[in-house]
């Protein structure tokens, strides 16, 4: 069956969706579809999936398309199911501090809406203006404030998921504490859309902090020891930082104008508490370095710049340079070793690297830019370092042609047979996001 036949079929099937033939496939990032469907109703999602599954058509799932550089080896599936028109708030009970939203809602829009109620979704992944809540959940994306608030797996209390065969399944519920049945939410968080299409999400909210600041403590280049000592002192003290994120010199230069390793310590609480902690951290910093404080709007502005510092597939790539973003997970304090290694890689592979990592949660985000082969060599070295530290490295942003040349996810875990078993049960024909996830799931 040709694309136009499929197009006709799908068009007659759906009621409230825009359907278009894709005349310019995105070969740069891939994860596109030969035809695109933008459903506005649950019924359409269900009908579309059912038909696609019956006919063994593959379906790529997207929100707003900001993660098209993340995983996947194909330029296009038969159908691209974009949830970018499936958006809006379904239920927000202010006093319960929970919200149910459609998956295509942009994170920034949600946060803006919630600000009116002095509430927030306590997730701070990069690019909130172009990432949908569904995408953030499916990719389990998080940012520096994960230290204080946790990640998507901690805040998702319920999901509505369309299975590959079109069945709509609710997982969890809309209450903040719930152990009825298996915690199926967890299966979908971070599953890269390979088990089902998340159509709705119920999330726990937090109050907006009454006051916030971010403290910057710069360190001389080669002094890993001093950073470690200082970080441990903070972790051991009474202060409760929401982030304890270390920037490498190049990222510091980009964001703060000085080429030093810099610790970004976010504080969020009532004003007296924030100032009290600033004072305590100031005393600790005095012995090793200096301290700069950004408060309230300045802090917010800083974070805004921070969240757009790294590239994603929403932006048009620069010529002659290849951008990659790698996520590394290690033990908390091993973040120091990873960032240290990045400095060496810059020289060894002739690439430029901006990197940051959380000393309280162990996750690093590393932006590598340079010529293709240099970027690939650097990725391979980063993975070696991560694995040496018992951790992992995942490439979360890279052009398609390069993704086809390397392993995005790293080695399969020993229990891969269980992951495979789950996939086969839930999506037996590999209809959804084929081969987008680890081990070709």
């Amino acid at each position: 069956m040709g694309t136009s036949d499929v197009l006709q079929q799908v068009s007659s099937l759906v009621k409230d969706s825009a359907v278009e033939e894709n005349t310019s496939l995105d070969y740069w990032y891939g994860n596109d579809g030969k035809m695109k469907v933008f459903p506005r109703s649950e019924d359409d999602i269900r009908a579309l999936l059912q038909r696609a599954n019956d006919n063994r058509h593959t379906v790529a799932i997207a929100g707003n398309g900001s993660k098209r550089g993340f995983g996947g080896k194909e330029a296009a599936a038969d159908i691209l199911l974009s949830l970018s028109s499936y958006k809006g708030i379904i239920e927000h009970t202010v006093g319960d501090m929970t919200i149910i939203v459609k998956a295509g809602t942009l994170l920034r829009e949600l946060q803006d809406y919630l600000r009116e109620y002095r509430q927030q979704i306590p997730l701070d992944p990069a690019h909130p203006e172009s990432a949908t809540i569904g995408g953030v959940i499916a990719a389990n994306d998080s940012g520096p404030k994960r230290l204080g608030y946790g990640s998507a797996r901690d805040h998702v209390i319920g999901l509505k998921v369309a299975y590959a065969n079109g069945d709509l399944i609710r997982t969890g519920g809309k209450v903040v504490k719930n152990v009825a049945g298996y915690d199926m939410n967890k299966l979908f968080v971070g599953s890269m859309g390979t088990l089902g299409v998340i159509t709705e999400a119920a999330l726990k909210l937090r109050p907006l902090p009454k006051y916030e600041s971010v403290l910057f403590v710069p360190f001389e280049e080669a002094n890993q020891h001093a950073i470690r000592e200082f970080a441990v002192e903070i972790l051991d003290s009474m202060v409760e930082p929401v982030s304890l994120e270390l920037f490498n010199p190049r990222l510091s230069e980009k964001l703060l104008g000085h080429r030093r390793y810099t610790l970004a310590i976010a504080l969020e609480d009532v004003e007296t508490s924030v100032h009290y902690q600033e004072e305590k951290i100031g005393e600790m910093a005095e012995r090793v370095s200096s301290l700069t404080v950004f408060s309230e709007d300045d802090a917010k502005q800083f974070w805004k710049r921070f969240y757009s510092a790294f590239p994603n597939s929403g932006a048009v790539p620069k010529e002659h340079a290849t951008d990659a973003v790698v996520k590394v997970g290690v033990k908390n304090l091993d973040v120091l070793s990873v960032l240290n290694e990045c400095a060496m890689l810059e020289d060894a592979h002739n690439v430029s690297i901006c990197a940051h990592g959380g000393l309280g949660h162990g996750l690093c985000q590393i932006h590598v830019a340079g010529a293709q082969e240099d970027v690939l060599a650097a990725i391979s070295s980063i993975r070696k370092t991560a694995v040496h530290l018992q951790g992992y490295a995942v490439v979360k942003h890279l052009p398609l042609a390069l993704r086809q040349m390397i392993d995005i996810w790293g080695e399969k875990p020993s229990y891969f047979f269980l992951l495979e078993g789950i996939k086969k049960k839930m999506d037996p024909f590999s209809t959804l996001n084929p081969k987008r996830f680890i081990g070709g799931l």
Partner: protein, 486 residues
């Protein structure tokens, strides 16, 4: 020597083989030894196990599991047996794998904020062993002085302080698991976050021992807050107390704990071992704890006192010292058991509701009490809407146990109708299998049993729990009634 001889005196090949794996002293199979393993904290139901084995390490657990799998013997894991929904009851005459002898604290890494324990390690012991260094383990089920962390993982246990810090699943960083086929797998290497792949850590936590047997656990540990303050508030109307709960949270305060007890519950705790001297004529009390940076606490306490006053509190006080605070908490944490002081039997329920529906649901529970003629006390984690209706009854009175079960089910229906859930921390077990239908469709239940099949294809591990099964459920209900009337 005598015990050894006794242990081997059996014609049962399976028991001999199991004794070969774990050692003859580590197997119980005589009827009199098995009686205490017939049920767990859900005492309404019981069934005899085939045997109880006490492995000392992961390899022994794997060997026992492998043996059972190879010989088609049903089996299940058990910790301290404090579970309240019957998850460790050997419905099918299982071989019980007791993990109480695997109770070591293996490793503490303060810098990376994690500890590794064996499943039989008691929850509170972890906090005790790291508190001198200023750290603690957050999940605090009321049974924490005796329940095991392995059991907490199986049930995804909660506790009073989960409002701010989350339940067990938010604190599990890694698991070593023996699969139902006897393979040993390690999930979440070194406690590192977001290891690529579907989140089996999150799936197995709370799976009530039906997907695998956890043999090693890496948990997150937290630093003690700089300061804690605890407030006790007495209300003349339940409604005022419940509104105060919502108001506190709406003011942007995230209390560490926000607990409520109603009049009958107060009557119980005051008659039991840890009375505080609560007035007998109040309708509700709130126990509110805030913790964090000392400089910010005063402000939050002022806010809370203000809310209480606006909601017509009769009196409200702040704990003056750790001793007073501990006294209030002992009174609360022993609340379930305290019902024994005012009723021969009681059934604990565990519904969850959206916080804002608290007044309506309490009213509904009150109606259930009137309909059935059974007194219902309410102790609950009001902050996260987790209700524990305690249905007071006398099992010696014919028919009253059934009535209590029915009242419990009706309370859960009320929670489900309010948009809530049938269990917040105790688990489904065998107790609430049927009530799963209040919150999930057949298709949604099937989606879950599909996942179970991946892990537990021969269904030898802890079968008959968690899910209603059309053919079986009627049979079990009848069985339950029979057991109850005996």
């Amino acid at each position: 020597m005598f015990r050894r001889k006794k242990a081997l005196k059996t014609e049962d090949t399976h028991i001999k083989q199991l004794a070969d794996i774990v050692g003859p002293k580590e197997v119980l199979f005589h009827k009199e030894d098995l009686i205490s393993y017939e049920s767990d904290g859900f005492t309404i139901h019981s069934h005899m196990p085939k045997a109880v084995v006490f492995p000392k390490n992961t390899e022994e657990v794997a060997a026992v599991v492998k043996y059972c799998a190879d010989h088609d013997l049903p089996f299940l894991a058990r910790g301290a047996g404090t579970g309240l929904s019957g998850g460790a009851i050997p419905l099918n005459g299982e071989v019980i794998i007791s993990l109480v002898k695997m109770k070591r604290l293996l490793h503490v890494d303060l810098e990376n904020r994690q500890a590794v324990v064996e499943p039989g390690y008691v929850n509170l012991k972890l906090t005790h062993s790291i508190s001198d260094k200023g750290y603690y383990y957050a999940p605090d089920p009321s049974s924490q002085y005796c329940c095991t962390i392995g059991g907490n993982v199986a049930e995804n246990a909660g506790g009073a302080h989960c409002l701010k810090y989350g339940v067990t699943t938010n604190h599990i960083l890694g698991l070593e698991v023996v699969t139902p086929a006897g393979d040993i797998i390690e999930i979440g290497r070194e406690g590192i976050a977001d290891v690529p792949g579907y989140d089996l850590l999150g799936l197995i936590t709370g799976s009530e021992g039906t997907l695998g047997i956890v043999t090693k656990i890496t948990v997150r540990i937290l630093k003690n807050p700089e300061e804690k303050q605890t407030v006790l508030a007495y209300f003349d109307r339940v409604e005022d107390g419940s509104r105060a709960v919502s108001d506190i949270v709406s003011r942007g305060i995230v209390p560490a704990a926000l607990e409520m007890m109603d009049k009958i519950a107060i009557e119980g705790v005051e008659a039991a071992a840890f009375p505080v001297g609560h007035p007998k004529d109040i309708e509700a009390l709130l126990l509110i704890e805030v913790d964090g940076i000392s400089a910010g606490i005063e402000e939050q306490i002022d806010d809370i006192l203000d809310v209480c006053k606006k909601r017509n509190v009769r009196s409200v006080k702040v704990a003056q010292d750790e001793k007073e605070r501990a006294k209030w908490w002992a009174n609360r944490k022993t609340g379930f058991g305290a019902m024994g002081a005012i009723s021969p039997d009681y059934l604990v329920q565990d519904g969850v509701i959206p916080r804002s529906t608290l007044p309506q649901v309490l009213q509904k529970i009150n109606e259930v009490s009137q309909e059935t003629g059974l007194r219902i006390a309410n102790i609950f984690h009001a902050g996260d809407g987790n209700l524990h209706p305690l249905i007071l009854f006398d099992a010696r009175v014919p028919g009253e146990t059934e009535k209590a079960l029915e009242a419990g089910s009706k309370c859960l229906q009320a929670c489900a109708d309010a948009g809530g859930s049938i269990t917040g921390e105790h688990g489904v077990g065998i107790e609430k299998r049927e009530e799963m239908r209040f919150v999930f469709t057949d298709q949604e239940i099937q989606a879950q049993t599909d996942v179970r099949e991946v892990f537990n294809p021969h269904y030898l591990l802890n079968a008959g729990k968690l899910f209603p099964s059309s053919g079986r459920c009627a049979e079990i209900k009848a069985e339950q009634k029979k057991a109850a009337s005996e």
